[in-house]
Symmetry: C2
């Protein structure tokens, strides 16, 4: 999950750890609290070892004349590699069951702007199915087994059920939008003035029937 998010963010621009965490927190604020450094740094090292990203010690640019009174520990800037971009594309295409889970879905969704429409639809529908199942489970418990639960537990289930129903409706709407070729804010792709390039990618071009990876 973190791997996916980091690769996605570094695709936009190189960053150092602290910055990465801030961006991550901003982008994923709706789904998870804040990424821990205890996850971030090991993941960065893992990605580096795999060759998806490279480490580039910050060049002091203007300040090159002042070398070191204090042996300042430079910030470590990470940069995605060509292999990393491939990897990211691969991760986007691979929509397994974990893409429908709370966190997995959220992270995938956060990078929908870099995802082709067919995959977006697959994920949205998979997620909907998942949430519907959860919803049915909660309805069952609230129906058949209600008397076995105390009032507080029942209230918790009710609140959860409500959230499920709400999310299903949200997903339905998003799916309908996708099918009619609209982006979530109602605009039609290509009309986004901020960054036309990363808007809806070329329709499902079979850019790579990438087989299993080695």
């Amino acid at each position: 999950m973190l791997e996916f998010a980091i690769l996605g963010l570094l695709q936009e621009s190189p960053m150092h750890g602290y910055e990465l965490r801030k961006e991550l927190t901003a982008k994923l604020g709706a789904i998870r609290a804040a990424i821990s450094y205890g996850s971030l740094y090991p993941t960065l090292r893992r990605l580096q070892a795999a060759g998806w990203i490279t480490e580039a010690a910050e060049t002091p640019a203007t300040a090159e004349e002042i070398p070191a009174l204090t042996s300042r520990r430079g910030r470590v800037v990470y940069k995605i590699t060509a292999e990393g971009k491939e990897r990211f594309a691969e991760l986007i295409a691979q929509t397994g069951p974990e893409s429908y889970e709370d966190t997995g879905f959220g992270v995938h969704f956060a990078f929908f702007a870099r995802t082709d429409r067919a995959t977006r639809l697959r994920i949205l529908e998979g997620r909907r199915r998942k949430v519907e199942e959860r919803r049915e489970g909660l309805r069952d418990v609230l129906g058949r087994a209600a008397e076995r639960l105390d009032a507080y537990t029942r209230e918790l289930q009710r609140h959860g059920l409500d959230a499920c129903e709400r999310e299903v409706r949200w997903l339905e709407e998003l799916i309908a939008n996708e099918r009619s070729g609209r982006t979530p804010d109602g605009s039609t792709p290509g009309s986004d003035p901020t960054n036309p390039e990363k808007n809806d990618p070329p329709p499902p071009g079979q850019s790579g029937n990438e087989s299993e990876r080695p």
Copy 2:
């Protein structure tokens, strides 16, 4: 978290692993998918090592005369100890920041029937504060930094913001109920509705809970 939930469930009746998982899933269905055995069994062993629970191999009752053609692996029934009950009470009383987090709050809430009212209020208010902070964070991002985000990410934040607002309202209602001495289903527990200060729905100490199964 698991420790808390297991102790809470075993307080109602002894159970074996599989059963425990089912009950756990039913009770916590609203907050987490399903507990993995990879968490459950190690936790059981941990609890056992600490002396909070004991293992009682199922006695085959009638079948004691047939020892073993097939060395049938009996189900292992776990039972809470006196120390375990103390531990549980301790965990209920200790409301740290993790009790306000998504999962932590959910688990605590699921055992509100065994929690005294003062603690319930503390947790509900702590949770409200937490969710309000999250809500403000999302509003900030959607306000100040909106142009830095693509339409999908914005939509995700909007949905998250909506969920936050909804949860805050839910919590407000629960808090109001607690203050006026009502249980979530609107019933007034036990006694005098004119004097709500006094009743503490499920008696705070060791509860004589209604569901006792032999």
